[in-house]
Amino acid sequence: MFSEDTILLFYEITDVIIAGLSTGSVYALMAVGMTLVYGVTKAFNFAYGDFFNMGGYFAWILIFGIGFQFGGYLAVLLIVLPLMFAVGYGLEKLMIAPLRKRADWENKVMMLTLGLALFLSSLYTVVFGVKMKSLPPILEGTLEVGQLVFGYQDIMIFVMSLGGILLFGWLLNNTRTGMAVKAVAQNPIGAKIVGIPKERIFAATFAISTVMVGFGGILLSQKWFINPMSGGTIMIKAWVVTALGGMGSIRGGLYAAFIIGMLEAFVGWLFGMSYGIIALFILLLATLALRPQGLMGKGE
C-alpha cells in the first residue's frame, strides 16, 4: 500500500518521536525542579546545570571509580539521590539563606550560584579530565512491536522520569511538607502565620530540586556524554523550558518540556544537532517577545 520509502520514513519519525519523548521527560524533571525553587524561594540557581552533571558524575564514580557491583542501578540511585538531597540542603542553608537578609538578595544569589557553577565545572575538569564520560544504559536491547523497534534505553528513561515526576506530584499534594511547600509558594506571609518554618521549607525545596536535576543527570548520561563544562548550556536549556512553561507553573513546565524535547529531536533530525541551541534561543526570544509569562503564567 505505502511505498518502501514512506514506511522507512514512518519508522524514522517514530524513532525521533521516542527520542523526543525521552529527552522531553528528563527536561520535565529539570523544569519542575527549577520552577519549584523559583516559585517557592524566588532564588535562581545558576549552577543548576552543574548539579545535573553532579548526578552523572556521582553515578560514574560509583560504577567505574569504585566498581560498585551489587544492586545495579537501583543501588546507585539509592546512594546518589540522598547525597544530592544533602548537597542541596546544605548549600541552601550555608550559602543562600545568609544572603536573604541583604538588599538585592536575588542578584546576590545569582552571582553566588554563578561562582559556584564556575567552581564546579572547573572542579569536574580537574578531577575527571576533559574527556567526556558516559554511563552504561539501565537496560540494553530493544523491544520489537511488529515492525517497529524501540530501544529499551529510551523507554526506561521515559518511564523513570515520569515516575519521578509523579512521585514528586504525590509528595507535593499528600505530605505535610509538600503542602507546606505549596503554602510558602502561594503566600509566604500566610505560611508564617500558620507556623510553617519558612527557612526549613526553602532548604527542603532547594534540596528536592537538586535531587530532581541530579536524577535527570543520571538518566541522560546514559544516552549522551557528560561534559564537565556543559553546565552552562544545560542550565540555559532548563531555563528556557521553565520560562516557556511559565516560571512557577509546574504544569506549564511539563508541557514546555515535552514541546522542547520534541522540537530538539526534530530539528536535530532535520538539520543536525548543533542547530538545536540556536532553535532554542529563537524559541526563547519569541516567547519573551510574544508571551513573556510563558504558557501557564503565574501561580499554581
Binding site: 538588599a103 552571582m111 565545572s121 531555563w239 526570544l285
Partner: protein, 321 residues
C-alpha cells in the same frame, strides 16, 4: 559615595599607576600586567554601572567587549581602516548592539535579562567560530592574528614602545573612568537612584525608566566596545576563547572585590584581581576552581567590597551610588 571621594579614589589609583613606570618601566612583564589592569578596569566599571548602579542584570558585558574587539580588528585587517578610526567605529557599533539587546531586555525582570544577555554571550561563540563568522572575517576558530597596532601621526603604539603605550592606555582608561564618574553624579545618576529606590514613584515624576536604561546600555556598550577594540590593537590577536567562562568570572570577581554598585570600586577591584591572578598563575588548572570559590566567598563575606569603609552607614541595607 560622594563625588569628592570618588574623585580621590580615582585620582590616587591612576596617580600611582602613572608614577610606577619610573620604577618598573623596563620590566616588560609588569608593564603588560599594568596595561591589562587599566583595560579591565574600564570593562569592570561599565559592567558595575549596569548591574550595581543601574540595576540591570546584564551578563552580556564580555560579549560586547569581544564584539568591539572583533569589529575593530576586522575593519583594520579587511578594510584597512586606521586603528584610531576603527576603534571609534567599533565603539559605535557596539553601542548599537547594546541598544539592540537592550530593547527587548528592558521589559523583563531580573533573571530574564541575565539569561537573555547570557544567551547572547553563548550564541556569540559559535557565531564567531562558524560560517557566519568566517564570512565576516572573524577568522573562525583561528581568530584574528594580525591586528595592526594603533599609530598616531606615524608613531606606533605597541609592545615595542611599552611605556608610551602604557601612558596612552592610562589616558584612555582614565577618560572612560571620568566619563562614568560624571554620568553617575549627574542628573542621570540621581534619576537612577530614584528608579532603584522606587520605580513607580520615579516614573510618576516623569523619569522614563526605559529611556534611561537604554542609555545605560548604549553608554556602557560604547565604552566597552572601545576598550575592547583598543585591547585588540594592543595585543594583535583575538580568539573566540575570550568568551570562555574564565574572563567572565574574573570580571565578576573584580566587581565583587571592588564592591558591586559602588563605583569606582570596580577599578580597584580590577587592579587587585589582575595582580592577584598573575600571582595565582602557577596554580594552572586550579586557577578557575579558585576563582569560582572566590566568587562564592566574596558574595557571602564582602557585601560591599573593598570600598565599604567609604560608604555611608545606610549603604548596607540598600546600595547607594
Amino acid at each position: 559615595m560622594r563625588l569628592k571621594h570618588m574623585a580621590i579614589i580615582i585620582g590616587v589609583a591612576y596617580g600611582i599607576m602613572a608614577v610606577l613606570p619610573i620604577f618598573v618601566g623596563d620590566i616588560r612583564f609588569i608593564m603588560n600586567i599594568m596595561i591589562m589592569c587599566l583595560i579591565w578596569a574600564v570593562v569592570a566599571s561599565c559592567w558595575d554601572v549596569m548591574m550595581g548602579f543601574a540595576g540591570i542584570f546584564s551578563f552580556g558585558q564580555v560579549a560586547f567587549f569581544v564584539m568591539g574587539a572583533y569589529c575593530s580588528g576586522i575593519l583594520a585587517i579587511e578594510y584597512h581602516v586606521t586603528p584610531v578610526v576603527s576603534i571609534l567605529i567599533a565603539g559605535l557599533f557596539t553601542a548599537g548592539m547594546g541598544v539592540l539587546v537592550g530593547l527587548p531586555c528592558l521589559k523583563l525582570a531580573g533573571p530574564y535579562v541575565a539569561l537573555v544577555t547570557f544567551g547572547v554571550h553563548m550564541a556569540l561563540q559559535p557565531t564567531l567560530r562558524g560560517e557566519i563568522g568566517l564570512a565576516l572575517g572573524s577568522g573562525g576558530s583561528v581568530g584574528l592574528l594580525t591586528i595592526p597596532p594603533i599609530s598616531i601621526f606615524g608613531y606606533t603604539f605597541s609592545s615595542a614602545n611599552i611605556v608610551p603605550t602604557f601612558y596612552l592606555t592610562l589616558f584612555v582608561s582614565l577618560t572612560c573612568a571620568l566619563i562614568i564618574m560624571f554620568v553617575i553624579k549627574s542628573y542621570w545618576g540621581v534619576a537612577f537612584l530614584a528608579l532603584k529606590d522606587s520605580q513607580e514613584f520615579a516614573m510618576s515624576l516623569g523619569i522614563s525608566a526605559f529611556k534611561y536604561k537604554l542609555m545605560v546600555f548604549a553608554l556602557t556598550s560604547f565604552l566597552t566596545g572601545i576598550i575592547g577594540a583598543y585591547y585588540g590593537h594592543f595585543y594583535g590577536v583575538l580568539s573566540f576563547r575570550m568568551l570562555d567562562m574564565d574572563l567572565f568570572s574574573i570580571l565578576m570577581v573584580m566587581m565583587l572585590v571592588g564592591g558591586l554598585g559602588h563605583f569606582p570600586g570596580a577599578i580597584l577591584g580590577a587592579f587587585l584581581v589582575v595582580a592577584g591572578s598573575e600571582l595565582m598563575a602557577p596554580l594552572g588548572a586550579y586557577r578557575a576552581v579558585t576563582m569560582g570559590a572566590l566568587v562564592v566567598i566574596l558574595v557571602l563575606a564582602l557585601p560591599n567590597g573593598i570600598v565599604g569603609p567609604f560608604l555611608k552607614r545606610s549603604a548596607n541595607r540598600s546600595p547607594t551610588g
